[in-house]
Symmetry: C2
Subunit: 231 residues, 2 copies
């Protein structure tokens, strides 16, 4: 190659529902540049690793990666001026942590609402927004709710997760109907207190599947006896 060489970093926008809001995991930079601003977990790609290996290694420094239910490549961020100093290209990932996972965080790291971020470093706010938008889009045509919700939930509890993630109202009745029709929910046979005084106990559900799939690929476009899978 006669082209120039560039630094390459891997960044993870890890999202989860915490205290009823969609939040992103950020750490506060202790050094310049952008000292005191909040950044996504990540760092430089090593010579011997690909970007997938790198993001898992770097995430492990901030959070127990066993708690991350889903990881996918988001996009390359490559504006020549996205960081000061020598040009660095970023491969950004989306990660999702279910709300019943409670990873221990380092002292410099916290969950911040994606729609009310603290001062952020470099282009990390744009990367977090891109992760939020990807999540919202995929919630509408995949089973990706499994990676946000706890392992078992009532419809009312699940609705709160969709409302927080999507940022707009969702009817519990309609949510149950569409997820059931698409075979995404299975009753566990258990019930949970309704939460309202005198309310009937609510049925408990889980997602039927905990790997990503497109939930309503045009049936006529599907090859015989094969479910759609998401890219």
């Amino acid at each position: 190659m006669t082209s120039p060489a560039f630094g390459h970093e891997v960044l993870a926008a890890v999202l989860g529902i915490r205290d009823g809001r969609l939040r992103v995991l950020l750490w506060e930079r202790a050094r310049d540049p952008d000292r005191g601003r909040w950044a996504l977990p990540g760092g430089g790609l090593r010579a011997d690793e690909d970007v997938e290996t790198s993001v898992r290694r770097q995430l492990a420094e901030k959070v127990d990666v066993r708690e991350v239910a889903h990881v996918e490549q988001l996009s390359v961020f490559s504006d020549p001026d996205r960081t000061p100093g020598p040009r660095t290209i970023a491969t950004a990932f989306l990660g999702l942590v279910p709300s019943d996972a409670d990873p221990v965080l380092p002292a410099d790291t916290a969950w911040h609402p994606v729609d009310a971020l603290p001062p952020t470093a470099f282009d990390h706010a744009a990367i977090a927004a891109s992760a939020r938008d990807r999540l919202r889009a995929k919630l509408s045509y995949t089973n990706l709710g499994f990676a946000l919700a706890p392992r078992e939930f009532t419809i009312s509890g699940l609705r709160e997760h969709y409302v927080a993630a999507l940022g707009h109202p969702v009817s519990a009745t309609n949510l149950q109907r569409v997820l059931t029709r698409r075979d995404l929910l299975a009753p566990t046979g258990e019930t949970a207190p309704s939460g309202r005084a005198g309310g009937r106990p609510a049925a408990v559900f889980r997602f039927t599947d905990r790997t990503l799939r497109v939930t309503d690929a045009f049936a006529v476009l599907r090859p015989p006896a094969q479910a759609g899978t998401a890219s």
Copy 2:
């Protein structure tokens, strides 16, 4: 950054239906490494351009980019040994050219069936396969057929495009039903000869929309008065 610097190239897997098959645009390498093998269009990222600018510049050297109806980032390919010599990371793109566009190609460039590639350079066969898989997945939950089909078509002609792209049989009746139900097709008011002796003329259609959108985002998850958009 204390991390090492790497070369960065941008590659485009440009797909289109030609002679009834899904094909990818490849050029034959005239120089080592991998001389005589077939490669995706692309090349080194310049210091002053981002990857989107770069892929359009480099595509323009192989094909009239006005003919490319859709371009999206596919994925980063970053295996440390994906090319010989100094390590080079690739940002790969998917491009789609409608079948009624007939771009003039350089002498070293040709359309090859994605499922019967000639000997390919480096990891370009894996990138082409990834582009094919992304296209197949998106055809099943978006309106992306607009970027493969000619501007106007009969249902029978459109069906041939879906069959070629998906690689399995599709019923014309079912295809018309599902695309119509999702408001993807509009009749032009014209008819075309049926192609069969004595057959009735067939209605001509076009896609209602020529930018990517998710065609069946769960209606209950959609914010009021806003259509789903694809990530």
